[in-house]
């Protein structure tokens, strides 16, 4: 199973598309590792510098409709090779969400109000997140403040996360 803990990258915008996560010109790569330095290269977000801001981050927290547009699984892969296996958002585009779980990664939806509170409390500060999959709770920590946020995950999605993805699961079962 992958790791779902570490420093948080806050992306304060809705509708971040997969062209922004990994531009099409890198789709000629045939290894995941080759995508590493291009993650979020074309993201339109004021004050965001991919080289500076992506380094050492392990979790993304963002707004609505994350991962819309192209079906490219290169988007989750570009996150994965940077050690980011967890994205938290108000909601996701269908294909991106399914690609994440298919890779044994987590795309977790939280209510708009909860996400908004997370931005108010933690964005702009050095924030660490620990995921407790036994209790379905995220623990956010920044300086002295700690916040527990419960989440839900379906049994099938959890099975994919535990199996490390859909290929082995499907081939064994069907």
């Amino acid at each position: 199973m992958k790791e779902f803990n570490g420093k948080v990258l806050f992306l304060n915008r809705s509708d971040i598309n997969t062209d922004e996560i990994i531009p099409a010109k890198y789709l000629t790569e045939i290894t995941k590792e080759a995508l590493k330095s291009f993650l979020l290269e074309d993201l339109t977000l004021e004050g965001f510098d991919p080289k500076r801001d992506v380094a050492e981050k392990k979790v993304v927290v963002t707004r609505a409709n994350f991962g819309c547009g192209s079906s490219r699984e290169h988007a989750p892969w570009a996150l994965e090779v940077n050690g980011i296996n967890l994205v938290i958002a108000e909601n996701f585009a269908r294909i991106f969400r399914q690609n994440m779980y298919n890779c044994g990664m987590i795309a977790c939806e939280l209510p708009e109000k909860t996400v908004d509170d997370l931005f108010k409390e933690f964005a702009g500060k050095e924030t660490e997140l620990a995921t407790d999959l036994s209790r379905n709770v995220f623990v956010f920590k920044s300086g002295a403040s700690t916040k527990e946020v419960p989440f839900s995950i379906s049994g099938f999605d959890k099975a994919l996360v535990e199996a490390g993805g859909w290929v082995e699961y499907a081939d064994a079962k069907y």
């Binding site: 509708d15 045939i30 074309d42 339109t44 585009a93 049994g155 099938f156 290929v167």
Partner: protein
């Protein structure tokens, strides 16, 4: 309680229901192209699972960057080619026979009403025009599709969009779908299917219905769906004629996939076609839509005619009817890419290619290249493109470029004027 088209197709293909309401569906067709498939092929091989569930149900094409532009794209082509040979996939379309997947595969008769289709390409929703459940998926789903012929989907809810009335002259399917996306917004149909119906849709050709369904994904939709009718049967007839005693029998069989009158919808929307105008996108999201009139005068550097949205013969005929007898503006470069070799051939025989060339267009081979900024018409920083494609994302056709999505008629008129303009200015006038 009646069923929607998607519910009927799910019920006929479901082999398992997983916790959380996810269905495992049996697939009728798995489509592949060289951008998302090679990694799936390599991964299957690395897992010791270099197998295919049924070589006859797998269709493959090289379309995104073709002919190869560099060593990396050549390698993607090589992996596809060797894999197709190795597994005896006879419907593999290599250079010379290749075209934009969502134009080529319908043209070959690979999609039928009631089918389940997946492809590692978000615009797979195009094939819903044939009343199929056709959805874009990622590489892992593609891998399992290739290996096992199955895919998981959450049972989608359906939005019914009824387009009443008749489209005015100069207004086309592209204007209709952009108008609908403006109303639904870019995630208004996420995890949902959109059924397009009503007299204006009934009056559309299969080409126009494909344009309509093609952009369902731009509202987040899993697929678009049009009901089967005699237009569908006529289009498919060369491929299905041995299976039915006549066209009426085919229609009767296919009509089982039409949604029931008492089907339950998440939402229903009604639009009046007769009040619609030519529209165009502004900004970086496909729901940012204004009328052409409001955007008139916007300078463009490039005009692009093509793609899985609008590169079919009907689109080229419409654009050529606007362009005929005119020259493109001095400050503009224009590119037209017929979406398949058959379309190219028809355009050649009908004299459309000559019309485009006389006007100053560059005619390229069938490919997806420019639409996603990979080849054959990439924009420079700060450039503006009037395009018949489907996405106006920032950087989509080249870093720092701006894309205005519009119909082939509006794009053709814009090429002549050099600024965004209505096709009525030129059509039929020399």
């Amino acid at each position: 309680m009646g069923k929607t088209t998607a519910q009927k197709i799910f019920d006929a293909h479901r082999i398992d229901t997983l916790e959380g309401g996810t269905s495992v569906l049996r697939l009728d067709a798995v489509f592949c192209h060289e951008i998302t498939t090679p990694i799936a092929i390599n991964d299957l091989a690395a897992r010791g699972k270099d197998r295919v569930f049924d070589p006859d149900r797998i269709k493959a094409v090289i379309d995104h960057v073709t002919p190869a532009k560099d060593s990396k794209t050549a390698e993607q082509g090589r992996i596809m080619r060797e894999w197709a040979r190795r597994h005896k996939i006879k419907d593999f379309f290599d250079i010379g026979r290749n075209g934009v997947c969502h134009a080529l595969f319908p043209e070959k008769g690979f999609v039928r009403p009631g089918y389940t289709v997946i492809m590692g390409d978000s615009h797979t929703c195009t094939h819903g025009a044939f009343c199929a459940f056709a959805a874009g998926i990622g590489t892992t789903d593609l891998e399992v599709g290739i290996l096992k012929g199955i895919c998981t989907f959450k049972e989608p809810k359906t939005i019914k969009v009824t387009v009443k009335g008749k489209l005015p002259g100069g207004v086309y399917a592209k204007d209709v779908i952009l108008t609908i996306i403006r109303q639904l917004t870019v995630n208004g149909a996420t995890d949902k299917v959109i059924e397009f119906t009503g007299p204006a849709v009934d009056a559309m050709s299969m080409e126009s219905r494909m344009t309509l369904c093609n952009m369902a994904i731009e509202a987040g939709g899993t697929t678009g769906i049009c009901y089967p009718d005699m237009t569908t049967v006529e289009y498919l007839w060369p491929f299905i004629k041995d299976g039915f005693k006549d066209k009426k029998a085919a229609l009767e069989a296919y009509s089982q996939w039409k949604a029931d009158p008492d089907a339950v919808y998440e939402k229903t929307i009604e639009l009046d076609a007769s009040g619609m105008e030519p529209v165009v996108t502004f900004g970086y999201k496909p729901d940012q839509v204004k009328t052409v009139k409001e955007m008139e005068g916007t300078m463009v550097d490039q005009v692009y005619l093509g793609s899985c949205t609008n590169g079919r013969i009907e689109d080229l005929r419409i654009a050529a009817s606007v362009v005929k007898g005119h020259k493109i503006a001095d400050a503009v470069r224009a590119v037209v890419s017929p979406a398949t070799p058959l379309i190219f051939d028809m355009a050649l025989k009908e004299g459309l290619i000559q019309i485009f060339m006389d006007a100053g267009f560059c005619v390229t081979n069938p490919t997806c290249g420019a639409c996603l900024g990979m080849s054959n018409g990439v924009l420079a920083n700060g450039e503006v493109c009037a395009s018949t494609t489907n996405r106006n994302f920032n950087g989509r056709m080249g870093k720092g470029g701006m894309v205005h999505l519009m119909s082939p008629a509006s794009a053709a008129a814009t090429a002549i004027k050099g600024t965004i303009t209505n096709s009525s200015l030129y059509k039929g006038r020399k």
